[in-house]
């Protein structure tokens, strides 16, 4: 409010039907001419009550709902939830499935970042990048389809492992993509990184200091753009990430341009992680053999009566983890994605709280755009990479 001058402050509405708000975000902007005085996000248009639904589902059933949170990175959502349940059950997935999880999580990170880059560039006016990014996303969707059978809502992770083993030809297809991709990133960068218009629209726009970023709870590339070197894959490694060799890129000033650079480098790093995981993936089971909590191997259903009964019991009765509560978090493409699961010992979770990174990152938006121009709002929203599916849940 302090920025208001003697001139009349005008309130304008942006969204929820607006292409640059990346979904159904609505902003109430109080403007003094071209300058933003306050920006108040209004959210909840996509609220489906996922946390309430969770209390009425079994632990396995809820996996499919997690896809629909951040629908651009379904694997990370699946994984975060399953890791929480595995922690509650005190079990660990077999090594091979952990590597499969890494490969697909990093591919969804690339896929998610590609969509961010495509739309972010489009918002600022660079149309070409959009088509390039969607070309690569098409290949990625084909890869996901090979492994999970779906292109978007994968639901590929299971408690104690993954749904099925990687199919024949998968590794070759991924290797082809991984070999190609660095050249593709160079293509995007020639279009943007030193582009004068791009620099003018992104440099020193939407600045947030490291201190503020921490206090506002930003995470993922949004906090790393401000120079905070914090990545959950490094600080609290899960699913064998400690065996991968990669660097965590950080920015300096915390503006839109830094967040752009961080994500571009992250795509390169993810690409290398996928390569390493493919080179060193161990042989073995893809799902753990603990019949009272984990699904049987899919192939056995057609050959073994016991496996069929086992599958039927898990699907119809569900599993009953011990009484207790756990919090598990993963480094999703948007930041810290956490699941707080409370169990009362029955087949339904007593309470599941999802800590969505976009929800918290969006909170920092007001801080970043107050006193800036209206045109910067679009650039800053783009640089936060929000997904309304997980904000509204």
């Amino acid at each position: 409010m302090t920025a208001a001058t003697t001139q009349q402050v005008m309130t304008i509405n942006m969204g929820p039907q607006h292409p640059s708000t990346h979904g159904v975000l609505r902003l109430i902007l109080e403007m003094d001419g071209e300058t933003v005085v306050t920006a108040t996000p209004q959210i909840g248009f996509l609220h489906r009550g996922v946390e309430k639904l969770a209390e009425h589902k079994t632990y396995h059933q809820f996996i499919t709902l997690t896809d629909r949170l951040d629908y651009l990175a379904p694997m990370s959502n699946n994984l975060g939830y399953v890791l929480a349940v595995e922690k509650l059950l005190n079990i660990e997935a077999p090594k091979r499935s952990q590597y499969i999880r890494i490969i697909l999580c990093e591919l969804t990170r690339i896929s998610s970042h590609l969509l961010w880059l495509a739309t972010h560039a489009l918002d600022i006016g660079a149309m070409t990048v959009f088509f390039y990014c969607f070309r690569e996303r098409e290949t990625l969707n084909d890869i996901f389809e090979m492994a999970a059978g779906a292109r978007m809502n994968l639901s590929y992770v299971r408690i104690g492992g993954v749904a099925r083993d990687l199919p024949d030809g998968f590794i070759e297809k991924v290797r082809e993509f991984v070999n190609d991709f660095p050249a593709r990133i160079r293509d995007y960068e020639t279009l943007l990184t030193k582009n004068k218009i791009w620099l003018m629209r992104t440099k020193d726009v939407g600045v947030i200091s490291a201190e503020d970023a921490i206090n506002y709870g930003l995470s993922g590339p949004s906090i790393r753009g401000s120079g905070v070197k914090w990545d959950i894959r490094k600080s609290e490694p899960y699913s064998s990430y400690d065996e991968m060799d990669f660097i965590v890129p950080v920015g300096q000033t915390g503006d839109v341009y830094d967040r752009y650079n961080v994500r571009m480098e992250e795509m390169r790093q993810s690409n290398e992680i996928v390569r390493q995981a493919m080179d060193t993936i161990p042989k073995g089971e893809y799902i753990t053999d603990i019949p009272d909590v984990a699904m049987p191997q899919k192939e056995n259903l057609k050959k073994s009566m016991e496996a069929l009964i086992h599958h039927f019991k898990i699907v119809t009765e569900g599993i009953c983890p011990p009484v207790g509560e756990v919090y598990a978090c993963v480094e999703a493409p948007k930041g810290e994605l956490g699941y707080y699961v409370v169990s009362d010992g029955t087949k339904n979770p007593y309470r599941i709280k999802i800590r969505p990174p976009s929800f918290v990152n969006l909170e920092g938006l007001q801080k970043m755009i107050e006193g800036r121009l209206l045109a910067d709002v679009v650039a800053v929203i783009g640089s936060l990479d929000i997904v309304l599916g997980e904000i509204d849940r």
Binding site: I43, G44, H47, G49, E51, K52, L53, H56, K87, L88, N90, I214, N215, Y216, G217, V228, W230, S235, E236, G324, E325, V326, Y327, C329, E336, G338, Y340, V342, D344, Y350, R351, K353, R355, F359, V360, E363, D392, R393
Partner: protein
């Protein structure tokens, strides 16, 4: 991950009245705090150099009324320290009949929306919150959907149009 087991002891020394229970489950430390102390405990954990909880990961409500007969709600705080790389969970029990607690927005700004969500879902009042309004449910919404006595299908009119019409009156 750093060793967190000392945090419970340290907190007990500093605020003997505040800590009601310290528990470790699956390597996660949970400290139950008395309702009246949450503001002071939060500020202490945030500023103390050894604990250094500069980051509030998550804050949420839990309706405990079907878990035991105590008829309470719980406010759960997940704290993280970027420098020390450790986590702790704080839990505060509040009576379901009068669910109110001090805000922690003055310690972590990120608590703003989390507290609004807990208010929206459970009706927990955060004293001193700058703008305690509903956040996810639409204007004119009645009831607190994540309370256990709230039905899954909702209690709202069949169409949202009716909700909005009601708001206009």
């Amino acid at each position: 991950m750093a060793d967190v087991s000392t945090i419970g002891k340290k907190l007990k020394q500093k605020f003997p009245q505040a800590v009601t229970k310290v528990k470790t489950f699956r390597g996660e430390l949970t400290i139950s705090i008395d309702k009246d102390y949450i503001g002071r405990v939060a500020r202490f954990l945030h500023s103390d150099k050894a604990t250094d909880f500069d980051y509030l990961s998550d804050l949420c409500g839990v309706d405990k009324s079907r878990l035991d007969s105590s008829d309470t709600f719980e406010v759960v705080y997940h704290l993280y320290s970027l420098k020390q790389n450790h986590r702790v969970r704080l839990k505060v029990e509040i009576p379901a009949s009068n669910p109110s607690i001090d805000t922690v927005t003055n310690v972590w700004k990120t608590a703003d929306w989390h507290e609004r969500e807990a208010y929206d879902m459970y009706g927990i009042i955060f004293e001193g919150h700058p703008n305690l309004e509903r956040i996810l449910t639409p204007e004119g919404f009645e009831g607190y959907p994540l309370r256990k006595d709230y039905p899954l299908k909702g209690r709202q009119p069949n169409s949202l149009r009716e909700v909005y019409r009601k708001g206009e009156e």
